[in-house]
């Protein structure tokens, strides 16, 4: 069986990005809550963000001309892999404080693991990220482990 993950790819484990500054707005919470068909009024009013509100906030919005043929931007925290088609894998997330309008958060992302699996549907590469969300004062708000599947 061919090994997909090279030593060079393994050097990406441990790499991190500069934290992204994210200002939480009530309007963004409301849009997210409506799109996900929340039932709780505190989310629909935008008083508090639903748990998955920050999904994707670790990646900055990108100019249209910088998007690839799949619609995605070239992720500076994704090594050049022998497989190219990316899908969301899983999430593990712990909350320490609610997220509310007006909060200013720092979202930091790093790669914690890269591994491959070979199954009946072919080879898959898993890239695992740690995403840490803090206030500007360093108070931990949320901790997330997120995997991306490349096939």
């Amino acid at each position: 069986m061919t090994q997909l993950i090279t030593d060079e790819i393994r050097t990406w484990i441990g790499r991190a990005e500069q934290p992204i500054r994210f200002e939480v707005s009530r309007r963004d919470i409301v849009k997210y809550s409506l799109a996900t068909e929340q039932c709780d009024e505190k989310y629909l009013r935008g008083d508090e963000a639903p748990p998955m509100f920050l999904f994707g906030a670790d990646r900055p919005p990108t100019a249209i001309q910088d998007l690839g043929p799949d619609g995605l931007r070239q992720d500076p925290l994704l090594p050049d892999l022998p497989l190219k088609r990316v899908m969301a894998g899983g999430v593990k997330q712990r909350h320490f404080h609610p997220i509310r309008p007006g909060d200013v958060l720092l979202i930091a992302r790093s790669i914690t693991d890269i591994y491959e699996k070979h199954g009946s549907s072919g080879a898959l590469i898993f890239v695992v990220y740690n995403i840490s969300v803090t206030t500007e004062d360093g108070v931990l708000v949320m901790q997330q482990t997120q995997s991306r599947i490349v096939r």
Partner: protein
């Protein structure tokens, strides 16, 4: 009376069906600024990425998993931690059901198995959650 006082291992959470549409997927992906074409461009999705159809975002299903817990909890506690794994892709047109079961009760800390199930009855996204319940 608080929900915790009557809670038992094996209790089922009320299930909720979700039926994503082109419009709901568009709104979700706009809300999280996700331009990946597999969520709105059927021809690209089937011909280039070779999926059977437009893909329902895994994180959207993750959100539905959190909702099945939060809506059951109401004002009786807080969702503290959850995890899920998207084991199988689901396509636009599928009705997906979110549900869960109480697995452990340790004081005010309650653990749940949660799931997304497709129309064939297969669990496509299993997961778990920890909630802290009010006394």
């Amino acid at each position: 009376m608080s929900k915790l006082k009557t809670l038992q291992i094996g209790d089922k959470l009320p299930e909720r069906e979700h039926y994503a549409t082109n419009v709901s997927l568009f709104l979700y992906n706009a809300a999280i600024w996700n331009p990946h074409r597999i969520h709105y461009d059927e021809r690209y999705t089937t011909e280039v990425e070779q999926h059977p159809g437009v893909i329902i975002d895994g994180p959207l299903q993750g959100d539905w998993l959190t909702q099945v817990v939060i809506n059951w909890l109401g004002d009786d506690g807080q969702l503290v931690e959850f995890e899920y794994s998207n084991r199988r892709a689901s396509m636009l047109g599928e009705t997906l059901t979110a549900g869960g079961t109480v697995t452990t009760i340790d004081g005010n800390s309650v653990t749940l198995d949660i799931f997304i199930r497709n129309e064939a009855g297969d669990i496509t996204s299993p997961g778990s959650a920890i909630v802290q319940m009010n006394s």
